[in-house]
């Protein structure tokens, strides 16, 4: 944790309410997000108990599985979920922009113009917390390999149509959520704790109710007290007043209310299904309201300048998945092959660097964090001395002296960057001593012997230079999967490439 974040947490503790960690919103928020609050059954991996979802705050759709161990009921639930969610998820697929890019003809290798579609907007799925994101991945995995009656009429246990399709979307969203800064699937606790520091630990912040208690405590109540109440206060029946934000449920609720209700349902008593439904709904509704409350808080922040550019990456991701579905490709494999795994890792690392740089450039408070860490410095230009490079056609290499109170970790030769007309201007540190850094500008000064107007700061200007790059360079290419080298097991076999066959030793392909 950075020094400034530690300070913010201590201030939050002292003042009894959360402190800002950002002055702008660093994540894209859809105009019309879909909130998804799932609950799972205790002790039964991947058995949903119910869910509340929808795009309308006042009218969520409630789906409940009255007997979560009944696989027919489970798949009926998933079919209803698919029916409810897919129109939203697929609803952005046809509204496209056409981009013309330079590409190569696949046969001749000649440069040609390639038209590519890009969806103008994309859906956004909001879940309460990190466990919710993992649950979306789990649901995706449990659904995407299922066969429907239309696809494989002879196989036992067909699932209703569209269930595998929802599984593929959820898998895609779950996978995309691992990309730093992506916004197709985000958790409310992550969004809130990115923008505010509470007076508790990061682990405790995963409790949405407690986090909101710090952000928005009742008048006159200290945040820690409100958070403690959210976490532990129980009513006269011993139930938590603020049910956990899922997918796990409160054990007291399970034992005292849910289990007897399910037993009554199993016994076929009239009204029992309705009772389970009301019980599950009562646990979901507070979390549903919390997510929307969090959304209200986030919407008060203006979006950062580079948020839209990063959202474009999400739109490409969405469009790419749409194209794969339309091309009839098989579902995502259970495991990535060596090249895909490496490509994902490298892309995520590049995105992390880019996200960190973007957030700092968008937000002075985040830049302050980097400055305190010695990765950037800001100050007033006190002198500019014209100098030129050696060589046949000397180029301007002005020396700029910056007086600063920061203590950057730079030494002569360190490359530093500043923002200039939407691009990064590079400089090299020529001398650094406490309070004064001299840098030599090396580019973005036009073609002439004299630097273009406005490309060199003047004495009195305030500049901010970073020791990190603003736009990370693209990583080296990976070989195509069919050329996987011997060190990594050679090219993946058929089984790894496509959907794998069911386990021959297991009568039924369990989760």
């Amino acid at each position: 944790m950075s020094l400034i974040a530690t300070l913010a947490r201590m201030e939050a503790l002292r003042e009894g309410r959360a402190r800002p960690l950002a002055t702008v919103r660093h994540r894209h928020l859809s105009e019309r997000p879909m909130v998804f609050v799932p609950l799972t059954t205790a002790g039964e991996a991947g058995a949903p108990l119910g869910a509340l979802f929808g795009t309308d705050r006042e009218e969520p759709t409630l789906l409940v599985v009255p007997q979560p161990r009944d696989r027919d009921l489970r798949f009926a639930f998933l079919a209803q979920l698919a029916q409810g969610m897919l129109p939203y998820l697929e609803g952005y697929a046809d509204d496209v922009d056409v981009e013309v890019r330079k590409g190569k003809d696949p046969e001749t290798g000649e440069p040609v113009e390639v038209e590519r579609e890009l969806c103008r907007d994309a859906p956004q799925l909001l879940v309460p917390n990190g466990s919710g994101v993992r649950y979306v991945r789990l649901l995706g995995r449990s659904m995407r390999f299922r066969r429907t009656a239309e696809e494989a009429p002879d196989e036992p246990y067909p699932v209703p149509s569209r269930v595998p399709l929802l599984g593929r979307w959820m898998t895609h969203f779950g996978e995309r959520a691992l990309t730093p800064g992506s916004c197709l699937l985000v958790s409310m606790t992550d969004l809130l704790s990115r923008h505010w520091a509470s007076g508790q630990s990061g682990l405790e912040d995963q409790h949405l109710g407690a986090l909101l208690a710090w952000l928005d405590p009742p008048p006159g109540v200290h945040g820690s007290e409100a958070a403690l109440r959210a976490e532990t206060a129980r009513d006269e029946r011993g139930l938590l007043e603020c049910p956990p934000a899922g997918p796990a449920t409160d054990p007291a609720f399970d034992n005292k209310l849910l289990a007897p209700a399910i037993t009554r349902y199993d016994a076929g008593l009239s009204g029992a299904e309705r009772a389970v439904r009301d019980l599950v709904g009562s646990q979901l509704r507070p979390t549903w309201d919390h997510v929307w409350r969090g959304l209200d808080l986030l919407r008060e922040l203006p979006p950062g300048d580079r948020v839209a550019a990063r959202w474009e990456g999400d739109r490409w991701s969405y469009t790419g998945h749409r194209d794969r579905l339309r091309a009839g490709e098989p579902p995502q494999p259970k495991r990535d092959d060596a090249v895909t795994a490496a490509a994902k890792l490298v892309r995520r690392e590049t995105d992390q660097v880019r996200l960190d740089a973007h957030e700092a450039l968008d937000d002075p408070l985040v830049m302050a964090e980097r400055r305190l860490a010695g990765e950037a410095f800001a100050g007033e230009v006190v002198a500019v001395e014209m100098a030129y490079s050696e060589g046949r056609s000397p180029r301007p290499r002005p020396l700029v002296s910056v007086s600063t109170h920061d203590r950057p970790h730079v030494e002569p030769g360190t490359r530093v960057f500043r923002r200039l007309a939407g691009k990064a201007q590079e400089a090299q540190v020529a001398a650094a001593e406490p309070g004064l850094v001299v840098v030599r500008l090396v580019n973005q000064m036009g073609r002439g012997r004299v630097p273009a107007e406005g490309t060199v700061p003047e004495p009195g200007d305030v500049v901010c230079l970073t020791a990190f790059e603003h736009d990370p360079r693209p990583a080296a290419p990976l070989p195509p999967p069919e050329e996987t080298p011997w060190t990594h097991g050679g090219p993946p076999g058929e089984a790894a490439m496509g959907a794998s066959a069911p386990d021959p030793h297991t009568a039924e392909d369990y989760l």
Binding site: L178, D336, G374, P477, P485
Partner: protein, 442 residues
Amino acid sequence: MTAPVGDPSAEAARVTEEILHDTLHSPRRGVVVDSPPGAGKSTLVVRAARELAAAGEKPMVVAQTNSQVDDLVKRLAKEDPRLPIGRLHGSDSPPDPALSELPSVVLSSSVGDLAGREVVIATAAKWAFVKDVPAWRHAIVDEAYQMRSDALLKVAGLFERALFVGDPGQLDPFTVVGADQWAGLSYDPSASAVVTLLAHNPELPQHRLPVSWRLPASAARLVSDAFYPYTPFRAGTGHEDRRLSFAAAGDGSAHDRVLDLAAESGWGLLELPERRTVRTDPEAVAAVATLVRRLLDRGGRTLSEKGTAALTADRIAVGTAHRDQAAAVRSALAGLGVAGVTVDTANRLQGQEYDVTVVLHPLSGRPDATAFHLETGRLCVLASRHRHACVVVSRAGVERLLDEHPSTEPVQLGVTVKFPDGWEANHAVLAHLNERRVRYRP
């Protein structure tokens, strides 16, 4: 483990011959060599490169950082001034200017310019951009345990067979983003290149260099026991072969007393009162700087198999866990008028060698012991850079901190559990250091 007997030089020479034989003649596509700290890894790489070149094989050499590549080029050019060497470099990461002075070395950012060179050396990152060239018959991969699996994936198509050399006890490669989803896969891209290589090619011959020429006898035993419990090594020199002495007697201060202890026994612990501090604990940083200042002021002299020499600033290093700690120590040293001492993090000190090191303990003053601070390799790097003595500066209470934070990393199916874990290694080193402890109250 019983200490191996026999002449260390003969034993090391025998293993080296076996490695070179396998490299040149093994029917397998790879050879893996584990090298404990200071066991002559670079010497082996240089020797293998020369032998392969002499056999007409024109090897390519892959190292991990630009400074490693520059060092290898310099050593190779020194050993064999007539060997034509190519140094491939990135267009915006120019090599050490000293290389352009060497007549046998050609520098270029394009591999096409280096076609005729007997040996071509570059970083893995640079090699990854090389394409559309015929494959090399032989490659040497240096620091292979510090190379990430995905980096090997990018370059492995360039060569038919390779010699992989590295130290399994040093820091594992890392990633700043989560890679749990691939844990347990044989080709987990965040794992070390050697782990992936051996998972897919378990039949490859594996060797181990048995003798550390860097570590003094006082350190080899501890480092071997604490960090390499199942693959022990020994020091190439005896207890009497290395000596550190000071011209000026100590002034009775805690700093001087711990330096005297370290000169005598190879280790010293300067313990500050227990306290939770910020990472750049000002008192600990000041203590580190003062120790370095006293090392220089007291006119240290080193006696070793290489002869006697004055302990100069360039033979001293300060190791820390974090970059901001290193920056704080640097500015404290500047404040005491000390220049020329290397101050860096464990990651950057890997592969380096000094006479005396001063280490700021990674767990000093911390409220918790995270996986980062407990990483076995971090402590191993910090505790194995010295030829003569290592002085550790720490807040008291690290043992209790360790006991309050046992390793709680999730166990992943298919992942080989590494021994020893950092928790145990930390305890082993602390137990040894506690016998050479000087308490100091600032």
